[in-house]
């Protein structure tokens, strides 16, 4: 299980309704169902992963978040979760807006491209960074819109949504991101976790 799941679970209130966008093999869905008694649905693009979810008894729709979120009416869910996939979309702006239309709140996690290892890789090797959490080559990576923690905060100002909570994951520990520490969190954070809502 991914390190951030516990922290996502802490943000989500018990007995709420949740949509996991890009739910993968349903690990987070199962975890939330068990620990927070949530009514949870998933949407996943890979047929194989959908099959795994069905075998776990999870309600999942095969679909693409960029095209298939449209079908959900406004405020269908208390929370919509988007785990480490924002950077893979052709238009992250539309996706964020859709998440905040479908959900009252959204939890978005992003692999932090501002992490020092990534920076060093580019600085010294002069090649596109490859790390354990970003294992692809530049030509086959699904991550076409990488961003940093700082970028995401700026993004919230540009497209006008509110960051209610922002956390950085560093060595399996979680810490709050604030205006005063964002330089360091952006340097050391491996992952940013954001609870967002419409302004």
């Amino acid at each position: 299980m991914k390190a951030e799941y516990n922290f996502i679970a802490n943000i989500i209130e018990k007995n709420s309704t949740v949509l996991d966008v890009g739910c993968d093999d349903g690990t987070l869905m199962e975890f939330l169902r068990k620990n927070k008694n949530v009514n949870i649905r998933g949407i996943e693009i890979s047929k194989e992963k959908v099959q795994i979810c069905i075998a776990k008894g999870l309600t999942v729709i095969e679909g693409n978040a960029e095209l298939d979120l449209k079908q959900f009416p406004k405020n269908s869910f208390d929370y919509v979760v988007l785990g480490q996939t924002l950077q893979a979309f052709i238009n992250p702006e539309i996706v964020i807006k859709e998440l905040l239309r479908v959900g009252k709140k959204a939890i978005v996690t992003i692999p932090n491209f501002g992490n020092w290892k990534v920076r060093l890789d580019l600085l010294f090797k002069g090649t596109m960074p490859i790390t354990s959490s970003l294992p692809h080559e530049w030509y086959n990576t699904p991550n076409i819109h990488m961003c940093t923690i700082k970028d995401f905060v700026r993004f919230s100002e540009t497209i006008n949504f509110k960051i209610v909570k922002s956390l950085a994951l560093i060595n399996k520990n979680i810490s709050n991101i604030s205006k005063s520490n964002i330089f360091l969190k952006n340097l050391f954070g491996e992952l940013g976790i954001f609870l967002i809502e419409n302004k």
């Binding site: 649905r41 047929k47 959908v50 099959q51 069905i54 075998a55 776990k56 008894g57 999870l58 309600t59 999942v60 729709i61 095969e62 679909g63 079908q71 959900f72 009416p73 269908s76």
Partner: protein, 376 residues
């Protein structure tokens, strides 16, 4: 005919008002069951058959002596596990395997109904079959399952009886028959009625049958159940028991011979008038129109958990038409899962050995059953 008399039948005493306006009563509904109904009566699955199916879902069909139409999916330890579930399947009204249909005798005229039989709809079929629940004293079915026209019945059933099924699995179907669907059905009907042995549907009182027309109808329909790729891989341009073309109109190609065979075995087990009536019922099916253009309204009251499946190579009931149902259900926050199964076997995939499909069906049912039991 003797074997047919041994078919299990429920006589429905209660009058049923049909969509065409006529009312029928004291009519037979032929059915078959598999597995055992448990004490709580919460393990029953009503399976709906497709256009040319019947109540003999699995095992050996006592009439045709062939395997039941859904033998891959239904049976002990199979997707619909008859060790666990009590499976009920009825022959649709309008059909020809014992249920009230056009080959029955009209008590008023003492003649075979033929085309005097009332036009029936998917709604009528479902309203007739719901009587089986009372007969078996089942308050709520664990599931309603069906592919193609069976899937349409699943949708109609949940819409008509929102609290009578815990789960629903419509497979490779649609909420509204498309122009293409209607066109192919019309082709089949025209083939039947153009056969001079059809005699305005009164062939039953004569010794001749419109076998040629019915066979052509089946051949045309059969092509729509397969995919181009599947046909090409199975037959290609292979020749039938000959080394070269014969420069005639005999079946030179294997695909021709195959289709002729499919047509010829079909006429032995199916009634031409039933084919007219059932295809008509499919064409009239339009759940969207029934709810004034809003499919979501069809399911407004339901708490049923849906699982919808389509197949990549199904061009008769393509994925988008199945997805439209998913979208309508999501729009009202209904519980719905969906997966498109990879298969090059066309619309027929749901009847064949397609492991991804069979596994998904089994997993959905078994997990939902456990879930339901732990809740109560």
């Amino acid at each position: 005919m003797n074997i047919r008399e041994n078919i299990k039948k429920l006589i429905i005493e209660k009058p049923l008002k049909l969509d065409c306006g006529k009312t029928i009563s004291k009519f037979p509904l032929a059915y078959e069951t598999y597995g055992k109904l448990n004490e709580n009566k919460d393990n029953a699955i009503l399976v709906f058959h497709a256009l040319t199916g019947d109540q003999f879902v699995t095992g050996v069909n006592p009439i045709t002596k062939k395997d039941g139409w859904w033998s891959y999916a239904v049976g002990p330890k199979k997707s619909i596990d008859t060790d666990k579930y009590f499976v009920i399947c009825a022959n649709v009204i309008g059909g020809c395997m014992g249920s009230f249909g056009p080959s029955h005798e009209n008590p008023e005229t003492k003649k075979i109904y033929g085309t005097d039989f009332p036009v029936i709809t998917i709604n009528d079929m479902v309203n007739a079959q719901v009587n089986l629940l009372d007969f078996f004293n089942i308050k709520k079915l664990f599931s309603v399952v069906g592919g193609s026209m069976g899937g349409m019945q699943v949708l109609q059933f949940v819409s008509n009886f929102p609290d009578k099924a815990k789960t629903a699995v419509p497979i490779a179907c649609t909420s509204s028959h498309s122009a293409q669907n209607i066109a192919f059905n019309e082709l089949g009907r025209q083939a039947i009625t153009a056969d001079h042995n059809w005699m305005d549907g009164k062939y039953n009182s004569k010794s001749t049958l419109p076998d040629k027309g019915l066979a052509v109808a089946r051949m045309a329909a059969h092509i729509t159940y397969l995919s181009k790729k599947g046909l090409q891989e199975k037959f290609g341009r292979n020749l039938q028991e000959r080394d070269d073309l014969k420069f005639g109109f005999d079946a030179d190609f294997q695909i021709e011979s195959y289709l002729r065979y499919q047509g010829s075995v079909f006429v032995d087990r199916f009634d031409a008038n039933s084919y007219l009536y059932i295809t008509r019922a499919m064409d009239y099916f339009d759940l969207v129109k029934q709810f004034d253009g809003n499919l979501s309204s069809a399911f407004k009251k339901t708490k049923t958990k849906f699982f919808i499946m389509s197949f990549t190579s199904d061009w008769l009931y393509p994925t988008q038409e199945n997805k439209d149902i998913v979208i309508a259900l999501n729009a009202i926050g209904a519980n719905v899962g969906f997966v498109e199964i990879d298969s090059d076997k066309g619309h027929d995939s749901f009847l064949l050995e397609v492991p991804d499909f069979l596994n998904a069906l089994k997993n959905f049912l078994d997990k939902s059953y456990i879930e339901g039991n732990s809740e109560s």
